[in-house]
Amino acid sequence: MNKNQETAPRVLKESKNRIRVDFERTSLKERMKAKYLNSNFYTKLLLAIFRFVLLLGISYIILFPFFSKISASFMSPVDFIQSDVKLIPKYPTLNTYKYLIIENHYFEAMLNSFILSFVCAAIQMFIAAFVGYGFAKFKFKGKNLVFLLVMLTMIVPHQILASSFVQKFIYFDFFGILEATGFYNAIGLSQGLYNTYAPLIILSLTGLAFKNGLFIFLMRQFYRGVPDELEESSAIDGYGTFKTFFHIILPISVPMLTTVFILAFAWQWTDIFYVNTFLPASENLLLTSNNFWAVMPDTLEALKDQAGANADTFEVAVKNTAGLLVVLPLMVLYIFCQRKLVQGIAQSGLAN
C-alpha cells in the first residue's frame, strides 16, 4: 500500500489510453476486521448455519425413506433377517426387479400409465384453465354458488362414492341412446365403460377427477391477476371472447398450465384408488394396478417348495420394489421440470 502518505493518487503505470493509479485505502486487514469481526455478521452466519442444518435435516427426513427402500429392493431374504445389515445388503440380488420387469411386464405397465396420465393431465389442465377463466373473468348470476359446488366436489372423497360411480359408468348412457343403438355391443364392451380408460377421461373432462377443484382454483387465481386491459385491447382488435382465450390468454398462462399439468400428471401416475376402482381387469395393466404389485400365486407356490426361501418375504419385497419402480420414472421427470413447478405458481399472482 501507499506508505508515503501522499494526498494525490500515485500513478503506477501509464500508457497511451490506460492509466493505473494507487489510491490511499485502508489496509486489507482493517477492511476484513470491519467486515467480519462484528456481532451483526456473527448472528447472520449463525442464522445461515442454523437454517442450512434445519433444511438439511428435513431433506433427510423426506429422502431417507427412498434410500431405505432402494437398499431394501436389492436385499435377498437372508439380508432381511440379518441384524447387522442396515442399508447395504450383504447378498445383493436383483430378483424382485427381474420378477417385476419380466413376469409383471413393467415396461408395458409404464407405457400404459404414461399414456393414461398424459392424456388425463392434458385434459385436466385444459379444463381447469377453461373453467377457471370462466370463474375469474365473467360476472354472472350464480357464479359464487357454482364455485361453492366446485369446492363441494373436493370435500366429498370419491372413495365414499366409488360404488355409485362404478354403477354409473357400467350403465353409462345419454338418455338411452347408446343402449338403443347397441353402441356398446358394437364396440365389444360388455360392461359399459367399466374397465376402459373412459371413466377417468370423462371425470377429467368434467373437472371432477382427483383434486381438480384445486386446479380450477389455481387457474382462477391466476386469471384474476391478468389485467382486464389485455382482453379489452384484443376485443378492440376484433377478437371474440373465445379467440381471445385461445390466442392470447392460453399462451400467457403457460407457466401456470405447466404447474397444473405436472401436478395432474404426477397425481394420476401415483393414483391407486381410481385405477383399481375403474380398471381392475388384468388386461389394463398400469403401474398402480394391484396386479402389478402382486406376486402370481404359482410363483408363490414354487417359492414355498424351495428350501430356505421365504415366500412371504418375497411378496413384500416385490411390493417394495414395485413402489420404487412406480416412483423412479416420476422422479426422473421431476428432476427435469421441478423448476417449472415453482416458476408457474410463483408467477400466478396468487398474492393478489
Binding site: 439380508d79 442396515k86 370463474f135 368434467t206 413384500v316 413402489g323 421431476y334 398474492a351 393478489n352
Partner: protein, 338 residues
C-alpha cells in the same frame, strides 16, 4: 360476429330484458361465462349430482342385493333416519366411544394438525424464499412429497411395515430395514424431547403435543407440500421494494414478518387452511375415514356407511364455514385488480 350467434342460443332469457333495451355489451359478454364453466356444470348435473344423490339415498334406506337368479340388481327400502340413529350411536372402540364421539375427538386432533401444518409450511416457505446456497436443491427436495403424492408413499410404507411384521414373526431379530418415517424421526429421540420439556417445567398437555409433533414430523412434512407451494407463491408475489423500505426504516426481521409478510400472505393462509382441512379431514389415513371405509370395505353400498359419511361431511362443511367466517375478518386483501 360469431359470438352473437352463440349468445342467442345460450340466453333465452334475453327476451325478458326487452323492456329495457336489450342486454348491454358487457352483460352479453358476462353471460358467456356460462359456456366456460359448462364442462364442470354438465359433469356436475349429469354425473356428480346423480352419484351424490344415490349415495344420500342409501343413507335413508336399507340396501338389499337381489340374487342373480332373480335378475340381479338391488332394492332399497326406505327406513328414514334409522341408519343415522344406529350408526352414530354405535360404539367403535374398546373405550365404548360412540361414532359421533369419535368424530368430535378426532376433530380436535385434526384441528391441531391443521394449525401445525400451516405453521410448518409457512415457516419452510419463508426459509425457502430467502437467498442462500443450495436453494434450488432444497426447493426440489421439499416438493418431492407433492409430486409423489401421499397415497403411494403410504402404500410403500405399508409394505415396509409388512416386511417388519413378516420379520417379527421370526422372533427376536433386529430389523435390517425399517420404516423410513420411524428411523428418520428417530434422529431426535422423543424421550429426549420429553425430558427436556419436563426439565423446563412445562406442563403435560403441551409436552404431549410437542412430543407427538416430533414423532410425526415425517407425516407432517409429507402433508404440507402443496401448502408450501402456495405459500411460496404468495411470498414471491410480495414486492421486494416493500422489504427494502422496511429495512431503511430500521425494522427488524421479526417486525418485518409480522407487519409485512403476515398480512400480505393472509389470503394464502385462508386458502391453505381450507385446503389442509379438506385434505386432512378426508384423507384415508384419518381415523374417522378409516372407520367409515371399514363399515363396508369391499365397496358394496351400505346405508350405514352412507349415513356415517354424510354426517361427517356435514360437520366438515360446517367447520369450513366457521373457518371462513373467522378468517374473513383477519384476511388482508391488496385490491389491485378488483
Amino acid at each position: 360476429m360469431t359470438n352473437d350467434i352463440k349468445m342467442n342460443t345460450t340466453t333465452p332469457a334475453s327476451s325478458k330484458k326487452k323492456k329495457r333495451r336489450g342486454a348491454s355489451l358487457v352483460e352479453k359478454k358476462d353471460r358467456l361465462g356460462w359456456i366456460f364453466i359448462l364442462p364442470f356444470l354438465i359433469g356436475f348435473v349429469f354425473l356428480y349430482a346423480g352419484v351424490v344423490f344415490e349415495s344420500l339415498s342409501y343413507s335413508f334406506a336399507q340396501y338389499n342385493t337381489i340374487p342373480a337368479i332373480k335378475g340381479g340388481g338391488y332394492s332399497l327400502t326406505f327406513v328414514g333416519f334409522d341408519n343415522f340413529a344406529e350408526q352414530l350411536m354405535k360404539t367403535v372402540d374398546s373405550d365404548g366411544k360412540t361414532f359421533i364421539e369419535m368424530i368430535f375427538t378426532s376433530f380436535a386432533n385434526q384441528i391441531i394438525d391443521v394449525v401445525i401444518i400451516l405453521m410448518f409450511s409457512l415457516f419452510i416457505a419463508v426459509l425457502l424464499n430467502t437467498k442462500m446456497a443450495g436453494r434450488t436443491a432444497f426447493r426440489a427436495i421439499f416438493f418431492v412429497p407433492v409430486v409423489v403424492g401421499a397415497g403411494i408413499i403410504a402404500k410403500i410404507d405399508a409394505s415396509a411395515s409388512e416386511i417388519l411384521d413378516a420379520m417379527s414373526s421370526l422372533e427376536g431379530i433386529d430389523m435390517g430395514t425399517s420404516q423410513g418415517g420411524e428411523q428418520a424421526s428417530g434422529l431426535v429421540s422423543s424421550m429426549d424431547v420429553e425430558m427436556l420439556l419436563m426439565s423446563l417445567g412445562l406442563g403435560g398437555s403441551f409436552t404431549d403435543i410437542i412430543v407427538q409433533l416430533v414423532e410425526r414430523i415425517y407425516e407432517i412434512v409429507n402433508r404440507s407440500g402443496v401448502q408450501m407451494l402456495i405459500f411460496l407463491a404468495g411470498l414471491q408475489g410480495i414486492s421486494p421494494s416493500v422489504y427494502e423500505s422496511c429495512q431503511m426504516e430500521g425494522a427488524t426481521a421479526w417486525e418485518t414478518f409480522w407487519k409485512i409478510t403476515f398480512p400480505m400472505i393472509s389470503p394464502m393462509i385462508l386458502v391453505n387452511a381450507f385446503y389442509t382441512i379438506i385434505d386432512s379431514f378426508t384423507a384415508e389415513s384419518n381415523e374417522v375415514m378409516q372407520a367409515i371405509i371399514a363399515i363396508s370395505p369391499d365397496g358394496v353400498p351400505s346405508g350405514a356407511q352412507s349415513a356415517a359419511a354424510w354426517t361427517y361431511f356435514g360437520i366438515v362443511i360446517v367447520a369450513l364455514g366457521l373457518v371462513a367466517l373467522v378468517c374473513k375478518n383477519f384476511v388482508f386483501y391488496d385490491r389491485k385488480n378488483d
